[in-house]
């Protein structure tokens, strides 16, 4: 009996072994067919390009968040009566725990994809799946995107976890030691360090075309991708500006500003226009002098300031102003979120310009004596009795009387960085670095004017010249790099230096000069640093309103001055002038250094 049981047992075991060996691993390894399993990704350069495209595609989905956090928290944008509780909370600096806009997760979602791409790019390079130069360009681009995202997270949440690990497995998520929080300045140091030694220029095109081309520099659906990638030097400048490395910041700004001249050495207008506020393009101009109604108010005419926002096509001129911008196209996701936020037609009209913003423009006087800044008319319009922020809507409200010709075709553009941003940041860095005259020239009057030798008398450089005919030593800053800006202009011999057309954003906007007393009425004579910085930030508001710069500008200055009342007062004025009863509460909160940050929920 025992024997028999053993025999049966033996047989059973034998058969079991046969059966179990049947369960080979391969048979049970099934890869998804509508997704790419990790082991099959990052095989070649096309996969690397797909990673870059995926990251930028995701980036475009946070455009609304970027605008809401950077503008609604600041002093220029207010919620309308249509806005919900969450938007009001953002505006009043009193967010509840479930406020979706106060959640940093969407930023980290893209950061994790950046980390993943960076880690895999390294592997690809070491496995020779990508060439060194291909690697350099893609790696640097994604490093910069990640740094930009972290900068945003740091601006709004203060102490934040800095993670460079892709957190690819579920074990990594459980290990909270992998994501320690960093103070904002430490974060900035890390970000600046991450950009050390990387490739700082744009993608290069290859000679191969069509399907053979591996270049990311291409034209897709009618849009050239050139301006859709982040400008790494501008970002590096901004990081240094935030950190207080003003000279380093100015070096990068200066480099970008002279990009056009470096490219064609004065051969074409682009040498002088590109990335500088000049008298040639995008100005506040009146077709008939003294006639308010004749303001150039046109989407396509690049002579006028409105074309910066209304131009639908990317041409030579507009490429001299835009530095980083991504289009929203009617045919592709995501839908343009700005329509929903700002438009009274086709959207919910949730946000509008604050009274405080209007008051800022109205406090200015134009060179022709009109008692307001005309950029207010082009930035904000009254449609059907409602105050509508127009900058993001010019491509959409393109019918007569600012109606949408095709309400469901939500064309638009996310303008992240442009010449005015660059110039004003350069000015701020110069001001902080104690080159007040350079800062004054950048913001306000231009190098040619400030360093004409006859400042504050206005220089005439063409017929009726009132400056020295020998222009060798005038219209040039004579300051150490990076503040050695050259605006010389002479006809015999014919000579044009890179900065000769530069006039400053205020002059471009047809505004009167800032008081020359800010720089003690002469270059290199010291001046009122705080007063000039205030003027620069005021100019930031008037030029860059609703473009997602405002909260950063206010916060940066407050941090540099170590005085939160600067930001608190601005927000207080917005709420106060909108008649919001919570103005004082918000001010009190912002006066404490922690009060300016959103709560970070781990």
């Amino acid at each position: 009996m025992r024997n028999k049981i053993f025999k049966i047992g033996g047989r059973v075991l034998l058969i079991s072994c046969l059966l179990l060996s049947f369960s080979c691993k391969k048979l049970l390894d099934v890869s998804p067919e509508d997704a790419v399993e990790a082991k099959n990704n990052y095989r070649n350069i096309n996969d690397a390009n797909a990673a870059v495209i995926g990251i930028y595609g995701q980036l475009q989905t946070i455009a609304d968040r970027y605008i809401i956090l950077n503008e609604l928290r600041g002093d220029l944008v207010s919620p309308t009566t249509n806005a919900d509780r969450y938007l009001r909370e953002i505006s009043e600096h009193n967010v509840s725990a479930d406020n979706p806009w106060a959640d940093p997760k969407p930023f980290y979602k893209i950061i994790m994809n950046c980390n993943d791409a960076l880690a895999n790019f390294k592997i690809m390079l070491s496995n020779a799946r990508m060439r060194q130069e291909e690697y350099n360009q893609r790696y640097a681009d994604i490093i910069a995107v990640r740094a930009w995202l972290y900068l945003q997270v740091g601006i709004h949440w203060g102490n934040v976890p800095y993670v460079t690990d892709p957190l690819a497995s579920i074990d990594d998520l459980k290990d909270s030691s992998k994501f320690p929080k960093l103070a904002f300045n430490d974060l900035l140091d890390k970000l600046i360090a991450s950009m050390q030694g990387i490739y700082l220029d744009g993608y290069t095109s290859t000679t191969a075309t069509g399907s053979n081309s591996n270049s990311l520099l291409t034209t897709v659906d009618g849009y050239s991708t050139g301006l859709m990638f982040i400008n790494k030097r501008c970002l590096l400048g901004d990081l240094n500006l935030w950190r207080g490395n003003y000279s380093d910041a100015s070096t990068q700004y200066r480099y970008v500003t002279e990009q056009g001249y470096r490219n064609d050495q004065g051969a074409g207008n682009i040498s002088f226009w590109q990335y500088k506020a000049t008298y040639s393009n995008f100005n506040i101009v009146y077709n008939i002098a003294g006639d308010e109604q004749s303001l150039k108010d046109d989407n396509t005419d690049v002579a006028g300031w409105r074309a910066i926002f209304g131009s639908s096509a990317q041409g030579t001129d507009i490429s001299a102003e835009w530095i980083w911008t991504m289009p929203f196209d009617k045919n592709f996701a995501p839908t343009n979120p700005f329509i929903d936020l700002f438009s009274i037609q086709g959207g919910r009209y949730l946000l509008t310009a604050s009274q405080f913003a209007m008051d800022k423009w109205n406090s200015e006087t134009q060179q022709n004596g009109f008692p307001y800044d005309a950029r207010s008319i082009l930035s904000v319009r009254t449609i059907n009795g409602k105050r509508v922020v127009m900058k993001p809507l010019y491509l959409y409200l393109n019918g007569p009387n600012f109606t949408a010709l095709n309400p469901l075709q939500k064309q638009g553009r996310w303008l992240l960085y442009r010449t005015a941003t660059l110039n004003l940041h350069f000015a701020e860095a110069a001001c902080r670095d104690n080159y007040l005259d350079v800062a004054y020239a950048l913001t306000n009057a231009g190098v040619v004017q400030v360093f004409s030798g006859i400042f504050p008398t206005r220089a005439v450089t063409s017929t009726g010249r009132n400056v020295a005919t020998d222009a060798t030593n005038i219209m040039i800053t004579h300051r150490p790099a990076p503040y050695d800006l050259d605006g010389r202009i002479g006809d015999v011999p014919y000579f044009r230096a890179p900065w000769n057309r530069q006039i400053g954003t205020r002059s471009r906007a047809n505004l009167n000069w800032l008081p020359t007393s800010l720089i003690n009425n002469a270059p290199n004579a010291g001046g009122d640093q705080i007063g000039l910085e205030n003027a620069i930030i005021q100019e930031d508001a008037e030029e860059l309103a609703f473009e997602g710069q405002r909260w950063g500008d206010l916060l940066r200055v407050s941090l540099h001055r170590n005085d939160m009342s600067f930001i608190a007062e601005a927000v207080y004025q917005k709420l106060l002038r909108d008649g919001n009863p919570n103005a004082s509460t918000a001010k009190a909160k912002l006066l404490s250094k922690d009060g300016v940050y959103l709560p970070f929920k781990m």
Binding site: K7, R11, L14, I15, S16, L18, L19, L20, F22, S23, L27, L28, V30, S31, P32, E33, D34, A35, V36, E37, A38, N41, N49, A50, A51, V52, I53, G54, I55, Y56, G57, Q58, Q60, N82, A83, D84, R85, R88, D103, K105, P106, F107, Y108, M112, L167, A168, S169, I170, L173, S176, V220, D221, K330, N331, F332, T335, L408, Q409, F600, M602
Partner: protein
């Protein structure tokens, strides 16, 4: 295809290996068995000669007459026949033996002697009697119910000819099995039912029991959702109830033999098997009438009340009385050009419903010889729905054959093909749902355009002044259908080496396809706006495919040693490859309403999409049965499963780099009544105590969730890749531990039978979505972080109350109750469905409704002002309440009603549910009835929420006549308020009702016509009523509905077509 070949080859080589290894052992087994049987034979001969004999009498239980010609045997020892006095004498090895009584026309019966030398007369019931000795078709072999140690139920359909053709295998089971909840989805033909066996086990995985048809997995999962709102394709619709011979329901740990597919129990279905040799033809012809009782219609307003309501609600929108009066529909001047257009009193609801006729034909041919026996069945059914122009047409065929190739080798073939085409419309509250439109449509307007004189034109009226479409336009012009087929085929080869050893292999495949076409016209339907277009007509098509390959191979061993030890062993392996595919294409705005196919839509508005799913499952199983003296029963089951779905680091047994789920189960039973100390208790036929405990699993964890993968992300027109998830290599099957303590008893020679069970199912490693840390950027992570527990009791009693030759009366009663609790969850979780919020929280049952409690309304403005309560509106801004607003309970006392004031307001799980069955037979007439009931389940009546919303021009229920209109008015119906500014219609206990009901589900009368003609075997006439009577307090159409199979949507009435009544007349002829 390559992979298929590969797997086919591996299956084949496995079989060959089996054969070789089994062959090698064969000689051993036979010689051993021979040695054993020779010795036993010698001993038996001696014993038989010495002559322990036993004598007894057999009688018919109804008539008391002796039964002759029955076969009485002691297994592997002796046999005898009963004589014409019902007397038999048989040699017995000892007086502990068990006699088995078998014979034509009577039940099978076992008689344990228990040491007795004399017995009272043995009573035998008819063949169809529900007996404790009935055979259950268990997973690996048939087994008499009294010999199982597990909680098993069998349902013999007896052909189920008396049921209407609308009855399907899933709905048929309603009330038949204690512990099986069968909730019909809707009244739409083919809609079927949700099945839950002993409550729930999973939040995100399936809760439906595994269905096995003739040994093969019958896939009942939904792959992709329908284009038609509220429609669910029901795979049970492709299985003809009349082909089903029996259902065996495994309720406890015995489901462990199906490893990680057994967590929700198993329903084994046997179709037309073991046909007789004689050729038989059965033909059934049925006609049915469907109707909707007038008393089940909702009391909607007529024109008079509606006009008053409309004026009220318009005034609340800020219109002045003059503006309201100036509206064309309030212009009562008969000479006005729009007078005729707006002065109707139409009952749109009544018009939507349409009584209909069904037809149904069934033909079955069976027969054969010693070598081959077969059953071929064919069926056609045309079933109408209760709303206009809806219905289903079904064709089905099934061919089952048993082939005896040689003395050792047999082959079973089971092949079936079913095709169905269903016409239907959108259901639920959508602007394209004709039933919904019929409810909210203003009674003032008419179906057709009319001129100023009131003469109707043949054209259907377009969208009315209130923006509401014309339901008749949808009924007439929309084309929405679902065509589907399923082929299910299996071949089962069995080789018997000898009496003890056998090997068998089953290979089968399922091919299933669903094609949906969808068209809603522009005329008469309100426009909709999508992200990039205003849409008028809507077009769509969808294809869903399923292709599964299945194999099941096993070695079996059965032997009884010395008539004392019975051993049954099975060792096998199942392999299945599942492949699913869905593709859909939706478009809008075809040029004219005659162009109805999707290709005619505006290409700019096209949307396409689809999904591919694939996974493989391998299940190794072992079952061992041991019986000692036929009194002590033990069973061990072990399954070792591997699946492509499991993570590489799952918590399982590692074999060759793959993790396997090891799921053991044990059970034991003691037949107390077979003990000698109960030998003299003659009233006790059988008493068995059972206990089982074991592990089962649920593999419904997502095909690829354990892997890290990338998904596509566009940037303008460029396609990039981003991470789709964080791979969770620890992801594994959910584990469900099943404990069952049961008792089976039978008294008075089986006149009364009773089964009682206590069960406790504990789910651990339940799939949950846990919040991921912010830095991960993920919304959630899928992990095995949850737990759930369901316990309860079930009781089933069957009795034959009256039993004589002319008149028999059977009465059955079953009831079951369960309590479900979530025991572990990473965090509390809220979900919403059709306006309901559902709370999932540790300690609470799944599916709990979560909303505001209310306490009547503010009867006056002063009362509201005194309370000082505000309600957060949809923008989150507090709005002060006024007279006529609903008094919500302010839980946290902050005077603002918002999310923080929500509380549990209803549990959709019933306190108990069950059924009463009864059957009378009087001569040739028999009458059967089934009454089902459910008590204490709460229901969310979304339909009423829409029809008592008082927030727009939609028609309302007559209860709204009682609305608050003047300060101080005593009523509980809030004021009419356009757009509902004070959120009176928030999800609250106002919309929660008691869904208890008691229903006469079926009542059928059969008359067996006496026939003298040769050639005809029988002629039976049937009359059946379905769903005749319902007692409920529920205010909607019907208290029974199920929008989806997800347990978080239980008890949500989202306005599906209601169930209706059917009367059937039919004949069945046997040749």
């Amino acid at each position: 295809m390559h992979k298929f070949t590969l797997s086919a080859i591996s299956i084949f080589s496995c079989c060959v290996l089996y054969g070789v290894s089994a062959n090698a052992q064969q000689t051993d087994a036979i010689s051993a068995a021979r040695k054993d049987s020779l010795a036993l034979y010698k001993a038996d001969s001696t014993r038989r000669a010495q002559g322990s004999k036993f004598t007894g009498f057999l009688r018919d239980a109804a008539t008391g007459k002796p039964v002759s010609g029955m076969n009485i045997s002691v297994e592997a020892y002796s046999a005898a026949l009963s004589d014409d006095k019902g007397r038999f004498t048989i040699s017995v090895p000892n007086y502990d033996a068990v006699l088995v009584v078998k014979g034509q026309g009577y039940q099978l019966k076992e008689i344990p002697l228990k040491g007795r030398k004399k017995l009272p007369d043995v009573l035998l019931f008819e063949e169809s009697f529900n007996s404790v000795y009935d055979e259950a078709n268990l997973v690996t072999r048939p087994m008499a119910m009294n010999r199982t140690s597990n909680a098993v139920n069998i349902v013999n359909t007896q052909g189920s000819w008396e049921n209407t053709s609308a009855e399907m295998p899933d709905t048929y089971l309603q009330g038949k099995v204690a512990g099986l909840s069968v909730v019909r989805r809707s009244g739409s033909p083919n809609a079927g039912a949700n099945l839950f066996l002993r409550g729930f086990s999973s939040l995100f995985g399936t809760n439906a029991p595994l269905v096995i048809v003739d040994g093969m997995i019958y896939d009942t999962n939904q792959y992709g959702s329908s284009l038609m709102s509220g429609h669910t394709r029901n795979p049970f619709g492709n299985l003809d109830l009349r082909d089903i011979q029996s259902f065996t329901v495994l309720k406890d740990a015995s489901a462990s033999v199906y490893g990680t597919k057994g967590a929700n129990g198993v329903i084994l279905i046997t179709t037309n098997s073991h046909p007789e040799l004689a050729t038989r033809i059965d033909l059934g012809i049925y006609g049915e009438y469907n109707y909707m009782g007038n008393n089940r219609m909702l009391p909607l307003m007529k024109a008079g009340d509606y006009r008053l309501y409309l004026a009220d609600v318009l005034k609340s929108s800020g219109m002045t009385p003059e503006q309201v009066a100036a509206q064309p529909y309030f212009n009562d001047n008969p000479s006005s050009p729009t007078y005729a257009m707006y002065h109707n009193d139409r009952n749109w609801q009544k018009q939507a419903f349409k009584n209909g006729f069904n037809q149904n034909y069934n033909l079955r041919v069976s027969g054969g010889d010693n070598v081959a026996r077969y059953v071929l069945s064919l069926g056609y059914a045309n079933n109408k729905g209760i709303t206009q122009n809806t219905g289903v047409t079904k064709f089905n065929t099934r061919f089952n054959a048993d082939l005896n190739i040689s003395r050792h080798l047999t082959v079973n073939a089971n092949l079936s093909f079913n095709y169905a085409q269903q016409n239907l419309f959108d259901q639920t509250a959508s602007e394209t749902s004709p039933l919904y439109l019929s409810m909210i449509k203003s009674p003032l307007v008419g179906v057709n355009d009319v001129n100023a004189q009131g003469v109707p034109s043949p054209n259907l009226a377009d969208v009315d002044a209130f923006g509401i479409g014309n339901p008749q336009a949808v009924f007439n012009k929309a084309k929405e259908n679902d065509q589907n087929y399923r082929f299910l085929g299996g071949l089962n080869f069995k080789y018997d080496f000898n009496k003890s050893w056998a090997v068998q292999t089953l290979i089968g495949l399922t091919a299933d396809k669903v094609r949906e076409n969808y068209f809603v016209p522009r005329a008469g339907v309100a426009n909709d706006t999508t992200a990039n277009g205003v849409v008028d007509s809507r077009l769509g098509s969808q294809v869903q495919r399923l292709f599964n390959i299945y194999s099941d191979t096993r070695v079996t061993f059965n032997h009884t040693y010395n008539r004392i030890h019975y051993i049954g062993l099975n060792l096998g392996v199942r392999f299945s490859s599942f492949n699913t595919e869905t593709n859909y294409n939706q478009s809008y705005n075809s040029a004219i309403d005659q162009l109805i196919t999707v290709g005619n839509g505006d290409p700019l508005l096209n949307r396409t999409g689809g999904e591919l799913g694939k996974y493989r499952w391998l299940n190794n199983y072992f079952t061992g049965d041991y019986r000692l003296y036929n009194k002590y029963i033990f069973n061990v089951t072990v399954a070792a499963d591997a699946s492509s779905r499991f993570g590489d680091r799952a918590d399982g047994m590692d074999i060759g780099g793959k993790k396997m789920a090891l799921l053991p189960a044990v059970s034991a039973a003691w037949i107390v009544s077979s003990e000698k100390f109960l030998a003299d208790v003659n009233m006790l036929e059988m008493l068995k105590l059972r206990a089982s405990y074991g592990l089962t699993g649920n593999d419904d964890i997502g095909n690829y969730a354990s892997k890290q993968y990338y998904i596509s992300q566009n940037w303008l027109g460029m396609q990039g890749l981003i991470r789709g998830n964080v791979g969770n290599p620890y992801l594994q099957w959910e584990v469900n531990k099943k404990l069952d303590l049961g008792l089976d008893a039978s008294f008075f020679q089986e006149r009364i039978g009773l089964t009682f069970d206590y069960f406790r199912n504990t789910t651990s490693h339940m799939i949950t979505r846990s919040t991921a840390p912010t830095v991960s950027g993920l919304e959630y992570v899928v992990s095995n972080g949850g737990g759930m527990k369901t316990d309860g009791y079930e009781l089933a009693i069957n009795g034959r109350i009256i039993n004589n030759s002319k008149f028999k009366w059977d009465l059955g009663f079953n009831i079951y109750t369960y309590r479900n609790r979530i025991t572990a969850l990473p965090s509390t979780y809220l979900s919403s469905y059709y306006g309901a919020t559902i709370l999932t929280q540790v300690g609470a049952p799944a599916g709990l409704f979560y909303g505001y409690r209310t306490d009547g309304i503010y009867r006056s403005n002063a009362e509201a002002a005194a309370a000082g309560i505000s309600v957060r509106n949809s923008q989150g801004i507090p709005v002060a309440q006024q007279g006529g607003d609903v008094k919500f309970v302010d839980v946290n006392g902050d005077h603002i009603i918002d999310d923080a004031d929500r509380q549990a307001i209803g549990n959709p799980n019933p306190d108990f549910s069950g059924a009463i069955t009864t059957g009378f037979t009087y001569g040739r007439v028999s009458l059967n009835a089934l009454i089902t009931f459910s008590k204490g389940n709460k229901v969310y009546n979304e339909t009423r929420r829409l029809l008592e919303s008082e927030s727009g021009p939609q028609n309302q229920l007559t209860s709204v006549n009682n609305r608050w209109r003047v300060d101080g008015q005593q009523t509980n119906m809030p004021r009419a308020a356009y757009g509902d500014p004070t959120m009176n219609n928030s999800f609250s206990d106002r919309w929660i009702e008691d869904g208890s009901y008691l229903r006469l589900r079926t009542l059928s009368v059969t008359y067996d016509v006496p026939l003298r003609y040769k050639g005809f075997k029988y002629l039976k006439v049937y009359a059946t009523g379905n769903n005749l009577l319902t007692f409920t307090k529920y205010l909607g159409y019907d208290p029974e509905f199920a929008p989806t199979g997800n347990l978080l949507t239980n008890g949500i009435d989202n306005l599906l077509d209601p169930q209706f009544k059917t009367i059937m007349l039919g004949v069945r002829i046997g040749i």
